[in-house]
């Protein structure tokens, strides 16, 4: 499998990107408040369903089922697209997909091309390729993507709020500079202005490219969810439509599409359903609008790397971005910090899978505190935090990609924590070693440093800790818990509580026995 090459969107290394993100105080604040607001909206929208965990189980089942029988559903979908008079092109790589669309645009003599939001088209780098065709103009129609395009193709930072990092003043500046805008920074005025520019362009549109939220196998339709109607406007006028989709974005029937749309909107934007929820295919004889030439490009580009591996669940993803909206790392480093067009927890899992190696994205699996907020929010139950640990396992155990000292330290930790005979003396050694570098004062936090000392500097990888925090000085062996336990006289039990505890134990035993019997029935 050839590796995906367009998903990396920054030349800077990870640490530089993190520092850049930290300096961008506006973006940090914007993301934090967006996360907080989204939390309330999302949880509210989910609670309306009353049984969100049941919905998650259903969502997981639907997506797992599709991934398991992917070849069958791909065949069924593509047969039905052809039956409806459309065409399907299977692209194994980003280059194949891009070349196909560029050739098609040339063949159709496309002049005015419009796009409705699609991560996959960013993945294949279609924009720049199309702009190389002489006389062709291209416009992004999602308001946020439109802003980014006008801002010299600034990189998106979020899957569903691509321009989350920009404030109204920045947007106004872009509009003044590039489009001759003369108004103030009121978001309504800005949006109205953008709409005017876009509406005029929609009428000239002769070739459109859209994404696809779900492709419906049993009728060959595609399903698009938007809040601006831009996808509908994109598709209504031009003769040719190209749909670009990742090969996993299938559902068996309309019924499952309805379920997934419901979960997608609630997870992504905290709405019951998006303002526009469109089902479409090639124009039929009795319809007045819609494309006569309908093409679907189905992209692999590294997705099949996940099939049959521990990473297969990442193909369940429906790009709702709720994992970004709860991730504490994303909260602080923003989308640009990840250096991939797929940011956040899902991007940290997906990017190395698509790439097929760890050349560009080795840092991402470590940009995670394993807090599992992502896994807990995922509407289709992808165990994201576990998959990130899996990436680490492959890098450390299988590929030995660790730095030398850190590797040695962790292997010593592995050895020490696996053998009691090595751990016991280590308890004493640790104290002897650290008492030399322990600071007596100033000590501010009570209780944490029981012997009144803390460490402000530690060697090796542990230095990362003391760079920002003080570390407790390990107590001497004589003050340790083990020593205490060996000599302590058990606290006398309170008779009343002990009697209650004993009775409760009997009750629990009886309850467990009953449950055990029930299981045998």
């Amino acid at each position: 499998m050839k590796t995906a090459s367009m998903i990396r969107n920054s030349d800077h290394d990870f640490l530089t990107r993190v520092k850049e993100s930290e300096q961008d105080k506006f973006a940090q604040k914007a993301i934090a408040s967006a996360q907080d607001a989204q939390w309330v909206k999302r949880e509210g929208a989910r609670q309306e369903l009353g049984n969100w965990e049941d919905w998650r189980n259903l969502g997981e089942q639907i997506r797992q089922h599709v991934v398991r029988y992917l070849p069958d559903y791909l065949e069924e979908f593509s047969d039905n697209v052809e039956k409806n008079g459309g065409h399907v092109f299977f692209a194994q790589t980003d280059v194949e997909a891009r070349d196909f669309i560029v050739e098609l645009a040339k063949k159709k003599q496309a002049k005015h091309v419009m796009k409705s939001k699609s991560m996959v088209t960013t993945e294949i780098g279609i924009d720049k390729a199309l702009l190389e065709i002489p006389g062709l103009d291209l416009l992004e129609t999602d308001l946020a993507e439109f802003i980014l395009q006008e801002d010299d193709w600034d990189e998106p930072t979020h899957l569903v709020f691509p321009a989350i990092h920009k404030n109204r003043d920045q947007v106004r500046e872009v509009f003044i500079k590039k489009l001759g805008y003369e108004g103030d920074n009121d978001p309504q005025h800005l949006a109205r202005f953008a709409r005017k520019v876009l509406r005029e362009r929609f009428l000239k549109n002769d070739f459109c490219i859209t994404g696809c939220n779900f492709a419906i196998a049993d009728n060959g339709w595609i399903n698009l969810d938007t809040n601006e109607g831009n996808a509908d406007l994109c598709m209504a006028i031009p003769k040719t439509q190209v749909v670009v989709m990742g090969m996993e974005r299938l559902v068996p029937t309309l019924k499952e599409a309805e379920t997934m749309d419901n979960m997608l909107a609630r997870s992504a934007v905290g709405q019951k359903i998006t303002t526009y929820c469109t089902f479409t295919n090639r124009k039929t004889a009795d319809e007045t609008d819609g494309p006569e030439d309908f093409y679907v490009v189905i992209l692999d580009n590294g997705r099949s790397n996940a099939l049959g591996t521990d990473f297969e669940p990442i193909l369940q993803c429906i790009r709702c971005a709720s994992c970004l909206n709860v991730c504490p790392i994303y909260r602080h480093i923003g989308g640009h910090g990840y250096g991939s067009i797929y940011p956040g927890p899902v991007g940290s899992v997906l990017s190395p899978v698509l790439e097929g190696n760890y050349d560009d994205f080795a840092d991402l699996p470590y940009a995670c505190s394993v807090c599992a907020a992502c896994s807990a929010t995922c509407p289709v139950k992808i165990p994201l935090h576990k998959l990130l640990v899996k990436h680490r396992e492959i890098m450390m155990d299988d590929l030995h990609q660790s730095q030398l000292i850190e590797d040695a330290v962790m292997r010593v930790v592995g050895l020490g924590t696996g053998h009691p005979s090595l751990f016991r003396p280590a308890l004493g050694v640790a104290h002897t070693g650290t008492s030399v570098i322990a600071k007596k004062n100033p000590q501010n936090v009570k209780n944490l440093y029981e012997d009144g000392k803390h460490l402000s500097w530690m060697p090796f990888v542990f230095g990362g800790w003391t760079k920002e925090r003080d570390f407790p000085d390990p107590p001497a062996h004589k003050d340790g818990f083990r020593k205490w336990y060996k000599t302590h006289k058990p606290v006398e039990a309170d008779p009343k509580v002990a009697a209650h505890t004993a009775q409760r134990q009997q009750e629990i035993k009886a309850e467990k026995a009953k449950r055990g019997e029930a299981q045998h029935d």
Binding site: C371, I394, Y485, E492
Partner: protein, 257 residues
């Protein structure tokens, strides 16, 4: 009832008072405690860092040590480490013998607050602490172990302790084991936000059921020069105890295990 103390490596090495408090509370409530000296660590540090092969010995050792005593329960003072013990059957799926043993172990392992509230059925542990407190809800204990209730019930019943809700309680403190060392810049931003949230409550005591989170937040608080007391829940429940204050879970609430 017989209870094995799962001391965890962090508590064993750095916070003896947490384990002592836990032992004293449990004994006061009628538990016979056992501390297997062979135990070391649940294997989480190496496992989560990707050193999965290296972590096998650690897992085996911990299972052998904790299951070496024929006890009714295993109780630990750290939600995250207790959750790791619960996950060991999955991590050892290729080793049937150890997996079976790990399954038995997981079934009888509880985090300290869970054990007091859900197993012992105690609502008010009889403690008293004249302070304003706030509670840091650790990620693993809440999301992976699924324990969202026990600590709050027990803290709400501590005499004279006024609890203030912690803003952004759902956000990670930025520890994450190796994460805090490998990505100190991001971790610092996370713990700083947590520290700001803790200070905004006006609490004089920060309480948690995860010593590693306390070590992280406390370490940053200390570096920033903030005066605050940090306590594990076991230390709070062991503070100025008067057993006449103890109340039990209403029998109508049923078995909570």
């Amino acid at each position: 009832m017989k209870v094995v103390i799962f001391s965890t490596c962090v508590v064993d090495m750095l916070f003896p008072n947490v384990a002592k408090a836990m032992v004293e509370v449990l004994e006061r409530f009628g538990c016979e405690t056992y501390m297997p000296m062979k135990q070391i660590c649940c294997a989480q540090p190496t496992f989560n860092s990707g050193y999965v092969k290296e972590s096998r010995h650690t897992m085996h050792n911990e299972i052998d040590a904790l299951m070496g005593v024929d006890a009714d329960y295993i109780v630990g003072p750290a939600g995250s480490c207790v959750n790791m013990l619960k996950e060991l059957p999955f991590h050892l799926k290729d080793e049937p013998d150890y997996q079976a043993k790990a399954k038995q172990m997981a079934d009888k392992t509880y985090e300290f607050s869970q054990f007091v509230y859900r197993v012992l059925g105690i609502k008010n542990a009889g403690a008293e602490l004249d302070a304003v407190g706030t509670y840091h809800r650790s990620c693993h204990m809440t999301r992976l172990l699924g324990e969202r209730t026990s600590p709050f019930v027990l803290l709400d019943n501590v005499k004279d302790l006024k609890m203030e809700p912690l803003p952004h309680i759902e956000n990670c403190c930025g520890f994450g084991g190796m994460f805090s060392m490998k990505e100190p810049e991001i971790s610092k931003q996370m713990v700083n936000e947590k520290v700001d949230d803790v200070l905004s409550t006006g609490a004089s005591v920060l309480i948690s059921c995860d010593p590693a989170c306390l070590m992280n937040i406390g370490g940053r608080l200390n570096r920033r020069g903030e005066k605050i007391t940090i306590m594990h829940l076991a230390e709070v429940l062991n503070h100025n105890v008067d057993m006449s204050r103890v109340t039990f879970v209403d029998s109508k609430e049923g078995a909570l295990v």
